[in-house]
Subunit: 216 residues, 2 copies
DNA sequence: TAGATTGTTAATCGATTAACAATC
DNA sequence: TAGATTGTTAATCGATTAACAATC
């Protein structure tokens, strides 16, 4: 049984794959925007991103993109394949829990639309914050979480609140039917098996820089 | 020639090491805060973070922490060793370039102080934004970048501006003497050899979630 | 055709895990 | 002492890179 000709995959993509695919995606979109022509070789991509060209070819093969010997890849095709592989065509709705500065920044971040992500509600437990406007949205009380999730059929909860309240908010989000947690809280959030969790620890990012600054 | 008894290292830490060390650091700080007692075994840490216990021991050995057979590690010592290895005791000053919502959120993020990071200035090219208050700071014109860097002896530039202007801002920051760039702009920023660059692509984080949501 | 570039198999490298002796 | 836990060497695993035949 051979893989389907439209790019069926035997193996799921690993985190590192997804990350590199995003780099290709961004690069090729800029490339297209500059109208440099429709074709690009794996070695050119590799050079621009400081990778090995074989790696680029393997990554693209993994999502079913075929290049042409002597020509390279068609940028348009690659972009479309990544778009499809990562599911950017399938709209996802998110609630942001935590209406502070970071929550506000994320809720109103214009870049997510390109990837199919829409923030449909911002919630906060603090009565002070309720009613504040963030872009088109108004901060709602955390009590309305289940309601907001159901109302908009949200699948993602973005956690932008202090470490102490993150796990509690996560539990409520899971109970409300959320399928993915994207946490910016500086703590470890856990969830039952079916729910995907991704941590975005700002301080971990800084730690890497701090370490390298120290070593000179 | 054997390594110095105070934890000298032969090999630099890799990115994955630094990331795990931060997990240990956060975990053990909570652990200490709960006053659960001063000792913890590698297998307990591993269990809580869903890792292999050998990996924990190797990571700790790499920064020169010694455990005691039959007892485990002294939480206090581990925390101190990570603090030292990652350089959190050495104060770092950063300028934030981009005074929008994200820049504001990062400039006023209270969590960085623990790691030695202080934001000393926020700058923006947009005259509209200049003069806005962000925590204790007032947004300054981008023209004053070199001045702000010199004035505060800042080493880090945090980029929170649109993709189009990121590289230009990065170049100016490098010219002003910045040694590390921490970019939240959705683009690839490059810098000369001696300057460390770290990209924090929000959309890449989401891409991973989107991919897993798609696969169910 | 000749030559550039892909696609894929084999080799290498590094990171993780397993096994186990050393230690208190 | 016996037993739990570390520290380290060896084995495994997966990811990256090198080599090269296939292709247009």
């Amino acid at each position: 049984m051979k893989p389907s000709p439209t790019g069926g995959r035997r193996h799921p993509l690993r985190r590192a794959h997804v990350e590199r695919l995003m780099h290709y995606y961004h690069l090729l979109q800029e490339f297209r925007a500059q109208g440099v022509g429709g074709k690009i070789s794996s070695s050119r991509i590799a050079e621009l991103l400081d990778l090995d060209d074989t790696l680029v070819r393997k990554d693209l093969a993994a999502i079913g993109v075929r290049g042409c010997p002597r020509v390279g890849y068609i940028a348009e095709e690659v972009v479309a394949a990544i778009h499809k592989a990562l599911g950017f065509g399938e709209p996802r709705r998110a609630v942001v829990i935590g209406g502070g500065r970071l929550g506000g920044a994320i809720a109103s971040y214009p870049g997510f639309a390109k990837y199919g992500l829409t923030v449909v509600a911002v919630l906060d437990a603090d009565p002070e914050k309720i009613g504040h406007r963030i872009g088109d949205l108004v901060v709602r009380p955390l009590d309305e979480l289940a309601e907001a999730v159901a109302e908009h059929r949200a699948e993602v909860a973005i956690l932008t609140l202090p470490a102490e309240s993150a796990q509690d908010a996560a539990d409520k989000a899971v109970a409300a039917g959320i399928r993915a947690l994207w946490s910016f809280a500086p703590t470890q959030v856990s969830a039952p098996p079916g729910v995907r969790v991704r941590h975005e620890h700002l301080s971990t990012g800084f730690a890497e820089l701090a370490y390298h600054l120290k070593r000179g």
